[in-house]
Structure formats: C-alpha cells, structure tokens
C-alpha cells in the first residue's frame, strides 16, 4: 500500500508542476489607459518574429537600443510607452504555432498565414511591414514561357505563399492549375536540389535568400515569373491578438511596435544612414552581404511611412486582395471555414476574425508630427 501512496504522490506532484508552468496571464477587462504619463510598472508583451527583411527590423531595433527584447529591460521607446516588449526570434513555422496557442501577444506573419490562425485567435493586423514584389520567385531551367510549365513538376512548400504565387500567375497566364504538378518540398531543400542539378528539378518556387542563391549558383537558371506580377497581394505584417490589445497597456504596446518600426524605417530612408541600416538588417537576415541585401530589397517593397501604410490599409485594392487570398485558402483546404475579414477600427469591424485596423497607424501619424 505504501508503494501505491508514493506513486500517487509523484503523479500528483507532476500534475501540479506540469500545469503550473504554462498558465497564461488572465486577460483583464480594465479600460485602456491613455498614453499620457507612464504610471506604474511596465506591462509585459511579447512579439514572435522570424528572419525576413521586413521583420528583421525588430532585431535591428533591439541592436539600436530602441526596443530591448529582453524581459525586464526597457529600450528608449519602451520607456516612452511604459511597456516591456519581449522579442522572441524563431523560425517561421513555430511563430504560427506559438501565436495560435496564445503564448505570445503578437507575431510577424503574412496576410495569408494569418487566416488559419484567426479562426482560433481573433487577430488584428496593425502594421504592414512590406509587400513581396519579386521576393517570391518561380525559378526554372530550360523553360522559356509559362505555357511550357504544362505537364512539368514544380517543387515548393505546400499551402504557403509560394503555392499562392504560382497559382495566381498560372491564372494570369490562362493556364489551368491541374495542368501543372505541384509537389511539396521545403524551399531550402528544393533550392539545394536545383543547385545540384538533380534530374527532374527544373522548376521550383521559393523565396529569398534561396532564390538569390540558386540564381547565383546555377547560371542556366532563370526567373520565369515572380510576385511582382501580383503586387501588394503577399503582405508581411504584424498581427496582434485582439484580447492582448484590450489588456492594460495593449494599445501602448501596439504603438510602441509601430514607433520602433518607423524609427528604423526613417534611418533606412535617409541616404546618410541607409547603408548602415541595411547592413544591420542583413545581419539579421541570413547574414547576407550588402550587395545581396540590396537585391533582396528590390523584391521586398518596404512600406516606409505610416502615411503610406494607412493609404494601403484603406485602399480598395487590399480588400480585393483579401477576397482572392480567402478564396485560395478555402479552395486549397488551408482553412476549413471561411474566415471573416474586415477593414476598420474595433467599432466598425470588431466582430471580424481578422481585421485590418488603421487606428494605431492614425495615432502614430499624429504623434510623429
């Protein structure tokens, strides 16, 4: 009987400790404080980001001391808004999972990958970092026109922006999707296979830096088409949980992210600091050289100012884009249910699963003047 008792004890101990660690902080319903004077202890918020030209900017903000990504330490902007932003760098796929399970308040995702997430976690897009206009490419060997793709096999990551880019371009060229065989493969692996001249790998879809690398290593490879034919349709952005925005300090958190982002953008825009800033971003993006980073920058169109971003968020184009993306996600089983996507502030679009909210952009435009 004694043994049984000890066993039960061990199991119950595991039980207590096993659960205790993962308790997320309960959401408070307190009204959002207006950012006048910071009072009290800085609220903690977290942002998960992966290496990408538009998102590595947050890594640069950490290097510059604008945002201190470590818990308990405040950068200049964090002090200004009295929030403690914890930056968590990880691979892109884990970003999706940690955000979906509610372990972080905000995440860097594309507009498309937010759709499966927003069905579980009500999401708000607050900041468009960049749009892909050439950064996602279909690289081919010995294929001259899109029509020649018929009957060929194209390798790339399934149910991702790569497949979206391919399908949209096939549409634009009046080619049926069923005429081209799509096979799932990690973009890094597909690029390696093409660079090694493995037979059968004469068409891949990938993103940078894999594309640049492949084009440089295999001289006979060319770009058949890229995301510049669908400008503004692949949006890299910062998504925040609706519930986190409603927490105490949630609004300040959003504004701090925007402020930090545009401070780095100001440096990137200024010819005096451009190269230096681009170098810093390159260090946080696969450690590319400055020349390569310049090439990447051509395909990744930064949205430099909040004014530009606001115009983009309020344009008719983005609404049409999201319809296209939602349709793609439904027809390709990326989502089971059609998510409700709306544009506007909480009052107008608060019931949507995923809303593009210009409130914070407007606010930051006011404070920057």
């Amino acid at each position: 009987m004694k043994n049984l008792f000890i066993l039960v004890l061990i199991v119950s101990l595991t039980f207590t400790f096993g659960c205790g660690g993962s308790t997320p902080p309960p959401a408070t319903d307190k009204p959002v404080t207006v950012q006048a004077k910071p009072v009290g202890e800085a609220q903690k918020f977290s942002l998960a980001w992966s290496e990408w030209p538009g998102w590595s900017v947050f890594g640069v903000a950490h290097e510059l001391g604008i945002l201190d990504g470590k818990e308990g330490k405040l950068g200049t902007i964090e002090k200004k808004y009295n929030v403690d932003i914890i930056l968590k760098e990880m691979e892109y796929d884990p970003c999706i999972t940690v955000y979906g399970s509610g372990q972080v308040d905000a995440v860097c995702l594309t507009n498309m990958d937010t759709l499966p997430n927003c069905l579980g976690v009500k999401s708000v897009g607050i900041l468009p970092n960049d749009t892909s206009e050439g950064g996602d490419m279909c690289i081919v060997v010995g294929i001259k026109t899109p029509a020649d793709l018929k009957g060929k096999t194209v390798y790339g990551l399934e149910k991702s922006v790569s497949q979206y880019m391919l399908v949209r371009n096939l549409e634009l060229n009046n080619i049926k999707e069923s005429e081209v065989k799509w096979v799932n493969m990690d973009p890094a692996a597909a690029a390696t296979a093409m660079q090694q001249k493995k037979p059968g790998y004469d068409a891949i879809v990938a993103w940078n830096p894999f594309c640049l690398q492949t084009l440089a290593t295999r001289t006979d490879s060319t770009v058949l088409f890229d995301s510049s034919t669908i400008p503004g349709e692949i949006i890299d952005m910062v998504i925040v949980k609706d519930s986190s925005l409603k927490k105490k300090g949630g609004k300040e958190f959003a504004l701090a992210l925007l402020d930090a982002y545009y401070q780095v953008m100001d440096r990137l825009k200024d010819p005096k600091t451009e190269d230096e800033t681009l170098k810093l971003i390159a260090e946080k993006f696969s450690n590319l050289s400055l020349e390569d980073m310049r090439k990447v920058k051509k395909g990744t169109k930064y949205i430099y100012t909040p004014e530009e971003a606001l115009k983009f968020f309020e344009s008719d184009k983005i609404k049409k884009t999201m319809e296209l993306v939602v349709d793609f996600c439904v027809s390709h089983a990326v989502v089971d249910k059609k998510p409700v996507v709306k544009f506007g502030n909480e009052k107008d679009a608060g019931d949507a699963d995923f809303r593009f909210d210009p409130t914070y952009l407007k606010e930051i435009i006011k404070t920057r003047k």
Partner: protein
C-alpha cells in the same frame, strides 16, 4: 519499502499501469479544458469532439479512393522497415566481425565510435547533397543513424561471451565460421532483438525529421503542413498513431524474442 520486492497479486501492477495511462489522458483533457476556458475557439489543444473531427478528416476517402492515414502509413512504414532492415543486416555484419576478429575490431571500432556520436538530424543538408531527395535519402538517414549504435551493441554482446565457451566449441571440432554462426550468433540474438527494439524510436525521429523537409507524403510531411495550419486535431491523432505503432512493434519484438530465445529466460 524493500528494493525489488514484487507484488503478491498479479493484477496490482496492471492496475497501477492503467491508472498511470488514465492519469495522463485525464491530464491532457484537463489542459484542453482549461485552454478552451481561456479561448473557446482554441485549436491548439483539441477537445475530444475536435479530435473526432480530426480523425474523420484523416480517414476521409478522397476522390482517388485514398485516405491520408492510408497513404502516409504506407509511405512512412515502407521507408521505416526498409531502413531498419538494412541497418540490422549491416550492423550484424559489422558487429559480429568486430566482436570476433581482432583486425576488424581495430579497423572498424574507431569509425563506429565516431559515427555513433553524429546525430543524423543535424546532417539533413548533408544527406540531400550525398544521396538526393528520394527514398534513398530516408533510408540512408536511418541506416546512418542506427548502424553504429546497433553494431556497437552487438559487438559488446559478443565480447561478453566467455572465452571458455569458445575454446570448448573449438575442442568439440568446430571451425571459426561454424562457431560464429552456431554459437556466437545464437548467443547474442537476444541482445540483437533488444537493440532493434530500442532503435525503433530513434529511427522514427530521423525519418520524420527528414519527411518534414522533403517529401509530399508521409507522417512527417502531414504533421508539418497541418501544424502550420494549426490543425492540431490532425497532428495529435497522427501522434497517437505513432505511439500505438511504436508500442505494437515493441510488443511484437518482445514476443519474437521470447519465442526465438526461450532458453534465455531465467
């Protein structure tokens, strides 16, 4: 409590084992319940109804008459068995020859010891380069991961056979090859089976890591794509399948061992 004092009743250990499994399942559903209290729409720790939905999704028959689970099991198990099978044959050759012949021992042992410490998952990119990205790559990964360990286990088991047994076999008129096959192989058979049994886990780790990166069918592929889409109900169901498969293989090999090596039971 006295060390190693067994239970008097046979049913007791079984009951305790069942309690531990039920506690684990209970803990899972408790966590799922709590997560759904925080967010009712959560899909990351699915409830039983969500899991049922996931199950029906993976068993749904497509227009080509295939189910996800059918396709994926076929592909993954084929790769797994081929990989494990080849590793076993290779390890048997290496392990026995290292254990029996001093020259081969001196020649093979250092390489083996070095390679045994290299995790194949860290060398994924190297495998693309060396073996391409077809079935060969999956098999190569498993073989590379398992062979050094299994052959070392066999080698150690051979070394444990007392010299007296070998001298006795020589005295009875056996030649070296007869002794290797008729005495040594049979004596290390239980160690071989145990070693295979313990290798199934690592083999699945290597295979699934590779499938997550390349391939358009298989457990690793499905788990990666579905977790990107946060369809955790599918992911958990697949994980449950993997656990049952591992458990079944373990059971099967234990049974084979008890049939083939009944002499070993003490």
């Amino acid at each position: 409590m006295i060390i190693r004092k067994p239970f008097q009743e046979k049913w007791k250990p079984i009951l305790i084992g069942l309690i531990s499994i039920f506690l684990m399942i209970g803990l899972y559903f408790f966590m799922s319940f709590r997560q759904h209290e925080i967010n009712p729409k959560d899909t990351t720790i699915p409830t039983i109804t969500q899991l049922m939905k996931g199950f029906s999704k993976i068993t749904a028959v497509s227009h080509r008459g295939q189910t996800w689970i059918g396709q994926d099991s076929k592909a993954t198990l084929y790769r797994l068995f081929l990989g494990i099978g080849m590793s076993v044959i290779l390890s048997l050759l290496i392990g026995l020859s290292m254990g029996c012949f001093a020259f081969l021992e001196a020649f093979l042992l250092p390489i083996n010891a070095l390679l045994a410490k290299l995790p194949p998952t860290a060398m994924l990119a190297v495998f693309f380069v060396l073996t391409g990205t077809d079935t060969t790559m999956f098999i190569a990964m498993i073989v590379f991961g398992l062979t050094p360990t299994i052959s070392q286990n066999i080698y150690l088991a051979v070394k444990q056979i007392p010299m007296e047994t070998i001298y006795k076999s020589y005295t009875l008129g056996g030649n070296s090859f007869e002794i290797v096959y008729k005495i040594i192989f049979k004596m290390v058979l239980p160690a071989i089976i145990d070693s295979i049994r313990l290798s199934i886990g690592p083999a699945m780790v290597y295979l699934i890591a590779a499938e997550m990166v390349v391939g358009d069918v298989g457990f690793g592929y499905r788990i990666r794509i579905q977790s990107r889409l946060l369809n955790m109900s599918v992911v958990y169901t697949y994980l449950a399948f993997l656990a049952f498969f591992g458990f079944f293989m373990d059971f099967l090999l234990k049974y084979i061992k008890s049939r083939l090596c009944s002499w070993q039971r003490t």
